[in-house]
């Protein structure tokens, strides 16, 4: 279930919404078949609430949107990438905890 704070991105929207954005964007690359992705879902929801207005918290389903994951050589999920000014500033793979993600966001915000 997607909270209203988490934007679900498509390949078509990615450039406009993430790369050209003024705010930093965290993209959670996930898929419905991935257990660890499902497990971090609620953490992403919480972050979206807490960082509203500071970081765009987004998700991209890699099954429906193969182009962007291909562009960033993503071959493992969940992979979370933090973009700022069109560039990757940080990246983590695996079901990491909220504390680690908060630390990652706070370094950039």
């Amino acid at each position: 279930m997607a909270g209203e704070n988490v934007k679900h991105l498509t390949d078509a929207e990615f450039d406009e919404y993430v790369l050209k954005a003024d705010l930093p964007s965290l993209v959670d690359f996930w898929a419905p078949w991935c257990g660890p992705c499902k497990a971090i879902g609620p953490v992403i929801e919480e972050l979206a609430g807490e960082y509203a207005g500071k970081v765009q918290i987004t998700k991209m389903n890699v099954d429906d949107n193969p182009t962007t994951p291909g562009k960033y050589s993503i071959r493992a999920i969940p992979t979370l990438i933090l973009f700022k000014g069109g560039e990757i500033v940080d990246q983590v793979t695996g079901a990491v905890g909220k504390t680690q993600l908060v630390a990652m966001l706070n370094k950039t915000v």
């Binding site: 493992a76 079901a95 905890g97």
Partner: protein, 309 residues
């Protein structure tokens, strides 16, 4: 007895920790479950579980964890996300220090920190992790649709996941260092019957190579002959190592591999400290005995607490 924040702290939220939490919360202990990532542990990466009783049709690892977490939550189990960097267990009051600097105290502790995938420790493995080197078939398998990939290992996990990976890959080659599999019979039969699975016996992978992604691996057989195999992915499923970095192993009691030794009640050598699940020294690491040990450990904690009153 000195005042503590909790009567029981459970370190780790896999099946053992969640079951210990269920028992303790249901028995109204003041209990906290500490998890550094997300609850679930290694079960989350299990595609399908057919041998956990009560689910006749089987279910995914993440569904099973959702149910375990929901059940513990029904009894108001308190959970906290935090990374413990130090444990002090010498005194009657057990103290845990988190990365944030926060200190938590408890009268008893159940260690359920589990285990993590073992690595080969070879050239290219670390650099190409997430770029074709994987330790989780269910997470990463679908990225290898119609490609030729490798699985390293011969145990239950390796053979079950090799079979799972044929849903995506056009060919899965299992590389095993012996000439027989350790995996259970039913899994072996399924794998041998699967036309997309091939085996290379008596061989070790010695290097993983590729520019940006995995392109090939080098293997050496037991006669010392080396050869190259082209592959875009390599799944390394060769058992587990204990998550014991913060634990005082000598004080607790541990085996040669660093897994914690307990008695039948899951008690370590330190009074009031129990261990359950994959962190324990044992031969069988299944969800069912992890959960069972969590229950036993919670009851041992209760016994200890009542003795201290």
């Amino acid at each position: 007895m000195a005042k503590t924040d909790y009567q029981l702290i459970i370190l780790g939220g896999g099946p053992a920790g969640l079951t210990a939490g269920l028992y303790a919360a249901r028995d109204r202990l003041k209990v906290l479950l500490l998890e550094k990532g997300v609850v679930g542990g290694q079960v989350l990466v299990t595609d399908w579980i057919d041998n956990y009783p009560g689910f006749p049709d089987g279910l995914t690892g993440s569904d099973l964890i959702d149910k375990m977490a929901a059940q513990a939550k029904r009894f108001d189990l308190q959970t906290k996300n935090g990374n413990v960097v130090k444990v002090e267990l010498s005194e009657a009051t057990k103290k845990l220090i988190l990365e944030s600097g926060e200190e938590l105290t408890s009268q008893t502790l159940i260690i359920c920190t589990g285990a993590r995938p073992n690595k080969l420790g070879i050239t290219g493995e670390e650099d190409l992790t997430g770029k074709g080197v994987s330790y989780c078939a269910t997470c990463d398998g679908p990225f290898f649709r119609d490609q030729e990939i490798l699985v390293v290992g011969g145990g239950d996990t390796a053979i079950q996941e090799a079979d799972f990976l044929t849903k995506f890959a056009s060919k899965v080659t299992v590389i095993h260092r012996r000439e027989t599999l350790r995996a259970t019979k039913v899994l072996q039969e399924k794998a041998f019957a699967n036309e997309r699975i091939k085996f290379i016996w008596n061989s070790n992978v010695i290097a993983i190579e590729g520019e940006k992604e995995v392109e090939r691996v080098r293997i050496r057989n037991n006669d010392g002959e080396e050869k190259e195999i082209a592959a875009s992915g390599i799944f390394i499923l060769i058992g587990t190592i204990p998550n014991n970095e913060i634990l005082p192993l000598a004080q607790l009691g541990a085996d040669e591999q660093g897994f914690i030794v307990t008695d039948n009640e899951m008690r370590t050598k330190i009074p009031g400290v129990m261990a359950a699940g994959d962190i324990r020294s044992k031969n069988v690491r299944q969800v069912i005995n992890g959960a069972g040990e969590g229950a036993v450990a919670a009851i041992a904690a209760e016994h200890y607490l009542s003795e201290q009153e």
